[in-house]
């Protein structure tokens, strides 16, 4: 550090050759350009808003919305404020997304594993499904489900039914459902808690049997009683209502899923599952051949090879891209507005049309989807940590 700049004077040429100078200069230039661009855009925004006589603010959310919403999970009347209308939209988005993620996981994993089937037909069908669905735009598929499939179901007068358990007509699909929303949530929660408890009981039982070579009867009994208890609660304790066809058309009881909801759900699940199937396929292919052979040489049956050896290892490769597929599904759920399903984007558009506040509405939308995506990422990261290699 003996250099003294006052001695040598200011050497411009040396500075221009110095990479450290350019690193800082480049960042300063970038920052200045971005700030200039932003101030240009925001200044224009300000002038445009002044010209239109508007000021930035979210106060309009407390004004009465004045439009009705076709279906809602929470109570809503047209003279409720805008924030409540947006809440209804968010609720509809959430019902679509949660059902979509659950079904997509099932269908996608099944389709992915099917491409490893020994059965030539099943393998070909799985490949054809992926090749067909991934190359057709989702919006087109959505219209196809809504207009060409659910739209051509018969009128309520000659509706079709499935063993008197589910009814289909061009107004929607009717399925059995627990008596109250609280019971439905309770049932789902019980199922989740029960599954986790069963998993740990099973591990406990396996550990005991490995340690002692025998025993584990109390755990087996506990598992059986847990299963029985859950079964009893789910069948008898939930006050199931079964849809009944009414003479002359229409359905009473059960849960009505509107045609918009069913079409949006079908399109989202059908489309996203094809991508999930490819992810699962790539994940399974990433497990080395030796693992399959070692598992089989231990005498494991083909089903067990997949369940105990291959799939747990494939999970490591599968989980990270699944995160982005779930986020895609969440964001794509906004397309449901094109078939008039009142999810949050649709409500937001109506709000914008009525209030003429594009910036505020866009910020709300952006924040909503960012938070939803963040939640998915957090959950998936936890899951990812659980399945990663535990290297010692």
């Amino acid at each position: 550090m003996a250099h003294d700049s006052s001695d040598r004077g200011f050497d411009l040429k040396a500075m221009l050759r110095d990479e450290r100078f350019w690193k800082i200069a480049f960042q300063v230039i970038t920052l200045v350009v971005v700030i200039l661009l932003l101030s240009f855009f925001l200044g224009n925004l300000n002038r445009n808003m002044i010209q239109q006589g508007k000021t930035f603010g979210f106060g309009f959310l407390r004004n009465p919305a004045g439009f009705s919403i076709g279906e809602s999970a929470i109570k809503y009347r047209p003279n409720d404020p805008y924030w409540r209308a947006l809440g209804v939209g968010l609720g509809n988005t959430l019902t679509l997304v949660t059902a979509g993620i659950a079904l997509t996981t099932l269908v996608g994993v099944a389709a992915g594993i099917a491409s490893f089937s020994k059965n030539w037909l099943l393998y070909k069908i799985s490949r054809a499904y992926v090749g067909l669905v991934r190359n057709i735009p989702l919006l087109l598929q959505l219209f196809f489900w809504y207009f060409a499939i659910y739209g051509t179901l018969p009128k309520p007068e000659n509706q079709i039914h499935f063993f008197d358990l589910a009814y289909f007509n061009n107004r929607g699909v009717y399925i059995p459902w627990p008596g109250t929303a609280v019971l439905a949530l309770l049932g789902i929660a019980a199922l989740g808690v029960g599954a986790i408890a069963a998993y740990y009981l099973w591990r406990w039982r396996t550990n005991i049997r490995i340690d002692r070579g025998t025993g584990g009867l109390p755990q087996t009994l506990a598992l059986a009683s847990l299963g029985l208890g859950l079964l009893l609660f789910l069948t008898l304790g939930m006050k199931w209502t079964i849809p009944h066809g009414v003479e002359g058309g229409g359905v009473t009881g059960g849960l009505r899923l509107s045609r918009e909801y069913v079409a949006a759900l079908s399109a989202l699940v059908f489309y996203t599952s094809a991508f999930v199937a490819e992810i699962v396929r790539a994940g399974i292919q990433s497990v080395t051949k030796g693992q399959w052979e070692a598992a089989r040489s231990l005498g494991l049956q083909p089903g067990l090879v997949m369940r105990l050896v291959v799939f747990p290892q494939a999970m490591r490769v599968i989980i990270p891209p699944m995160n982005s597929e779930y986020m895609n599904l969440t964001k794509n759920s906004s397309l449901a507005f094109a078939i008039a399903f009142p999810e949050i984007y649709s409500v937001a558009t109506t709000t914008y049309n009525q209030t003429g506040r594009p910036v505020e509405v866009f910020l709300i939308l952006m924040a909503t989807y960012l938070i939803l995506c963040l939640i998915i990422t957090l959950v998936m990261n936890q899951l990812n940590r659980a399945v990663q290699f535990k290297e010692r």
């Binding site: 990479e19 690193k23 480049f26 960042q27 970038t30 920052l31 971005v34 224009n44 925004l45 002038r47 445009n48 808003m49 099944a110 594993i113 490893f116 089937s117 020994k118 059965n119 030539w120 037909l121 099943l122 067909l132 190359n135 057709i136 735009p137 989702l138 919006l139 087109l140 219209f143 196809f144 207009f147 060409a148 739209g151 051509t152 399974i284 292919q285 051949k289 399959w292 052979e293 083909p302 089903g303 090879v305 997949m306 291959v310 986020m327 964001k331 794509n332 906004s334 397309l335 094109a338 984007y345 594009p358 910036v359 509405v361 866009f362 939308l365 952006m366 989807y369 960012l370 995506c373």
Partner: protein, 405 residues
């Protein structure tokens, strides 16, 4: 489901040599009771579905909706008096495509091999037999002949002047502006308002413009996110993450409303331009992530070796890192282009009459009420063909660039 080791079919179809059809069926369809049951169930469902579909397509479906509106599907409400310009454009593209094919295949001994001849004959037969294209067969058949002729010319030219490939790339680049001029008019041609651009023409134009705009932007963002300079890195990361958190439809719709708000008072860029800009800004964030994955896959030693040879940062990136990174990222990048192509369907939501939008306005015509399945199936076939061709092209490119064999 009965799993088998992946490698038993990973490379191409199973070896059928020495396996009669009965033995093949026994091995692949009826190996045990579970498989046999599965096969029977699938066959039953499939034959029922095919029978239903066939009877619908042959008896109930009313196909005239497609040939009667074929012009609309292809070019939207473009004035028919000016169709000649579209034909000229098509001829230019066919000539360039033929030339490129010929130059790329200059080392092949027989250009018009049996497969190529069969393919050309199939295309010709399709043009004559397919009802919507039959009326313009007299224009389409010469175009096919033009492709073949230019391919022969290109092969000869490519052999004589090895550097001709660069000029063809330049010609493709220029053809984009010629296309804009031919479609939109100006400079001596009658102007056609963008409101009259539509159908497949608009879909392709929006997709190509979107791809051309989003590629450089995505590249810069990816480099920015990997940069050692904190300010650049933070800005790029913020842009990428915010854009990836918003659905495209919100981006497009608000783009239509907000781009005018962010520009000086009174200026209002064209609707199509606004939509393409929103599409490109959106796709660039996703593309940046694909390119970043490619950049991360290039070993650190490559950059260090380049630096130690005395290359500065731009040269290191341009000559050493990016060529390798882009090669690795090709499948993902093409995948992103495919989804950009599919995303152009969302332009119909913001009121542009691209292929899906024109399909919806045809369906709104009382004469074709309820012909949903026919129109949507037809559109699905068009989209599928384009997306599949892109995927196929990407696979070929990947094989061609694979230097590790």
């Amino acid at each position: 489901m009965t799993p088998v080791t992946p490698n038993s079919f990973a490379s191409g179809p199973p070896a059928l040599i020495g396996l009669g059809p009965i033995a093949w069926a026994k091995k692949n369809l009826f190996s045990d009771w579970f498989n046999s049951l599965l096969t029977l169930i699938i066959v039953a469902i499939f034959s029922w579905g095919l029978w239903r579909l066939g009877s619908w397509a042959l008896t109930m479906a009313q196909w005239p909706v497609i040939p009667n509106n074929f012009g609309l599907f292809m070019t939207g409400t473009y004035p028919p008096a000016l169709y000649a310009r579209i034909w000229v454009l098509l001829a230019i593209i066919c000539a360039l495509a033929g030339l490129s094919w010929g130059v790329l295949a200059r080392n092949v001994s027989i250009l018009f091999s049996r497969n190529v001849r069969l393919g050309l004959a199939a295309i010709g037969a399709f043009i004559v037999l397919f009802p919507p294209t039959r009326p313009s067969a007299l224009k389409l058949l010469p175009l096919v002949a033009l492709v073949a002729a230019m391919a022969a010319v290109g092969r000869q030219g490519g052999r004589r002047f090895p550097g001709v490939g660069k000029w063809i790339s330049l010609a493709w680049f220029l053809s984009y502006f010629v296309a804009l001029w031919l479609i939109g008019g100006g400079l001596g041609l009658t102007r056609v308002s963008t409101n009259d651009w539509g159908g497949l023409l608009l879909t392709l134009l929006a997709a190509i413009s979107g791809i051309a705009l989003c590629f450089p932007l995505g590249l810069l963002l990816a480099l920015g996110r990997r940069s050692a300079l904190p300010v650049v890195r933070w800005l790029s990361t913020a842009y990428i993450e915010v854009v990836r958190g918003v659905p495209l439809v919100a981006f497009l719709f608000m783009g239509q409303v907000m781009i005018p708000l962010f520009l000086p008072v009174g200026s209002r860029p064209d609707r199509v331009l606004r939509a393409v800009i929103a599409l490109a800004l959106f796709s660039a964030a996703y593309l940046a992530e694909n390119v970043r994955a490619g950049l991360q896959a290039v070993p650190r030693g490559q950059r260090e070796a380049a630096m130690s040879l005395g290359l500065n940062t731009p040269l290191t990136l341009g000559l050493i890192v990016l060529p390798q990174a882009l090669k690795i990222a090709i499948p993902a990048i093409v995948g992103q282009f495919i989804s950009l192509f599919q995303d152009t369907t969302l332009l119909s939501i913001v009121g542009l009459a691209e292929l899906l939008g024109i399909g919806r306005s045809v369906l709104a015509n009382p004469a074709y009420l309820g012909r949903y399945a026919e129109v949507y199936l037809f559109l699905a076939v068009i989209y599928w063909v384009f997306c599949y061709a892109m995927a196929l092209g990407s696979r070929k490119l990947e094989e061609k660039l694979n230097t590790e064999r």
